[in-house]
């Protein structure tokens, strides 16, 4: 049933390389997206009118920027950000350039995920921390993040799966990974089985990320009686 092409891809190690590229693009992009998105998300919560240090103009400004980036469809944002990628990594092609565009697309998404996780922290707990004389920055560090940890982990899994989806699209403009294999060897050469193999592999990767993430969140959550 399976085409010669597929066997060839496997023998040449292209498929294995694709899996590896997808994984490392996803992981690295998510990591960088959090380095930018986590502080942004925290900033959104802290400066909110109900937050621990309301700063209206800053909250509005960050909110508008985040929304602007979130409203651009990824396929368009990706192309638009290629010059930025070129500026940052010196090339607008290849996986490194794709990681730059992925981070730009994912960071605002991550900021909103972080914001919603942190907002789940009970207002009463924050009030108690204030009543005990906790400075604002310490509340973020010692209360908000630790109390929201399980939710933050779940959020990061969702973000990672989204980034993985984006990374497949990056295959159309010069990124590597399973998306590129599906397009170049599958779609463009009429090998349906290669497309389906890529789909199956993607599903398996997503499942593994999801299971590991959920298990980790569950393990760290002390609200669950064990």
């Amino acid at each position: 049933m399976l085409s010669e092409m597929l066997a060839k891809l496997w023998q040449n190690g292209i498929l294995q390389l694709g899996i590896w590229e997808t994984l490392y693009m996803t992981l690295l992009s998510t990591l960088f997206a959090y380095i930018i998105g986590l502080p942004l998300g925290l900033l959104l919560v802290v400066t909110d009118s109900e937050g621990i240090r309301p700063i209206k103009w800053l909250n509005r400004t960050v909110g508008i920027i985040v929304n602007a980036f979130r409203s651009i469809p990824f396929i368009i944002l990706m192309v638009a950000m290629l010059p930025v990628a070129k500026f940052v990594v010196g090339s607008s092609l290849g996986n490194r350039a794709m990681i730059v565009t992925l981070v730009i697309a994912a960071a605002p998404y991550v900021a909103r995920m972080v914001e919603s996780s942190i907002k789940e922290v009970d207002a009463g707990v924050i009030e108690a921390a204030k009543a005990m004389g906790t400075p604002a920055f310490t509340i973020v560090w010692k209360v908000l993040i630790p109390e929201a940890k399980p939710s933050l982990i779940i959020g990061s899994v969702i973000s990672m799966v989204t980034v993985l989806g984006y990374s497949a699209m990056a295959g159309t403009i010069g990124g590597g990974g399973l998306g590129q294999i599906a397009i170049t060897y599958g779609y463009q050469k009429y090998n349906d089985d290669i497309v389906w193999i890529c789909v199956a592999l993607t599903i398996i990767i997503v499942q593994i990320i999801q299971e590991l993430g959920t298990a980790l969140a569950h393990r760290t959550d002390k609200r669950i009686r064990k």
Binding site: E127, G133, P146, D221, K222, I224
Partner: protein, 330 residues
């Protein structure tokens, strides 16, 4: 001493201003248990939050041991708050921290060494009777246990004051009673001044020395609990003290008296004596008395006999026996 001076708090909304506190003046003395009672929405929660400036008053001041809190910088205020413990209706424990680490939290914030914090936390756990539970997480505790941990956490920095915001309102009567006893012990043994916010007269009655009755954003009445309990002057105080059971709401037509027990010897069967000596039955409409160290506290509402002479005999008996009573509106 906590002095609350002409405190006002107004919340601005789009179309109108909502007055939460209106010209509150109060003095809370060192070493006492001070109650603030009111119906929900009266402003008592806002008032307690103004004491440690969790809510910033619109005008007026809170003076703590001679220091005006309104004039403090943000950083100074943080330090002052370490001298004012606070517990809440919903406990507000850190869910992701163990019992021990909940209690060490305020010490961590104050920059205390970890080993010393833990020693202190264990001391407090012993005080609240939860030494066995230090490795537990809040989700594994009952409501009463959670409040005990919250009390231990509030006391970690050895505060002079403890604010309790409806601290027993989420607990069953039995647990409420235990928590109130614990608070009284803390007041007596550690000398912590306690401010208790509640909507339940029984909480005030049980442990408070003095009480402020708050009604529609204003103080209606302040005084010793026994005094207000025996002679409530304000409408709201009467409403909070007098039971509103369906029975007392019914208009029966005959006179009713509220007999007040304010430390009479509890072994004395007052009502039986009254009935035997007056040779007349009285109908008990409501009774709520308790025995504290051999003394009776509380109230009994009786319905006098229809016959005017018999009724007068009962009143006469109460007078000659020095019982406190008052006529309750028919």
């Amino acid at each position: 001493m906590i002095e609350i001076k002409n405190l006002n708090k107004t919340y601005k909304t789009k179309d109108r201003d909502i007055v939460a506190l209106d010209g509150i003046d109060l003095e809370i003395h060192d070493g006492e248990i001070f109650g603030i009672i009111g119906l929900s929405g009266a402003g008592k929660s806002t008032l307690v939050r103004c004491i440690n400036l969790l809510e910033r008053p619109t005008s007026g001041d809170v003076v703590l041991d001679g220091r005006s809190l309104m004039s403090l910088s943000r950083r100074e205020l943080l330090t002052v708050r370490r001298n004012i413990g606070m517990i809440f209706q919903s406990f507000n424990l850190f869910e992701q921290r163990s019992v021990l680490r909940n209690i060490t939290y305020p010490l961590e914030i104050a920059g205390e060494k970890k080993s010393l914090s833990e020693v202190r936390a264990r001391e407090l756990l012993a005080l609240v009777g939860l030494s066995e539970r230090e490795k537990f997480y809040p989700a594994q505790l009952s409501g009463g246990q959670k409040q005990r941990v919250a009390i231990a956490r509030a006391l970690a920095t050895r505060p002079k004051y403890l604010l309790c915001d409806e601290a027993t309102s989420a607990l069953d009567p039995n647990t409420t009673s235990q928590i109130l006893s614990l608070l009284r012990d803390i007041n007596r043994t550690l000398g912590v001044t306690i401010v208790i916010i509640t909507h339940e007269m029984k909480v005030i009655d049980r442990i408070c020395d003095r009480v402020a009755v708050i009604d529609r954003s204003r103080i209606a009445e302040v005084g010793a609990v026994s005094e207000i309990f025996a002679h409530p002057r304000s409408e709201i105080a009467r409403e909070l003290i007098l039971p509103r059971s369906p029975l007392t709401e019914k208009k029966i037509g005959s006179r009713r008296l509220r007999i007040i027990f304010d430390g009479e010897e509890s072994a004395r069967p007052v009502l039986s004596q009254l009935i035997l000596e007056c040779q007349t039955p009285v109908n008990i409409m409501f009774a709520d008395t308790k025995d504290i160290d051999g003394r009776a506290f509380g109230q009994i509402i009786v319905q006098l006999p229809e016959d005017e002479n018999q009724a007068q005999r009962v009143v006469g008996w109460l007078n000659s026996n020095n019982m406190k009573y008052e006529e309750v509106g028919v």
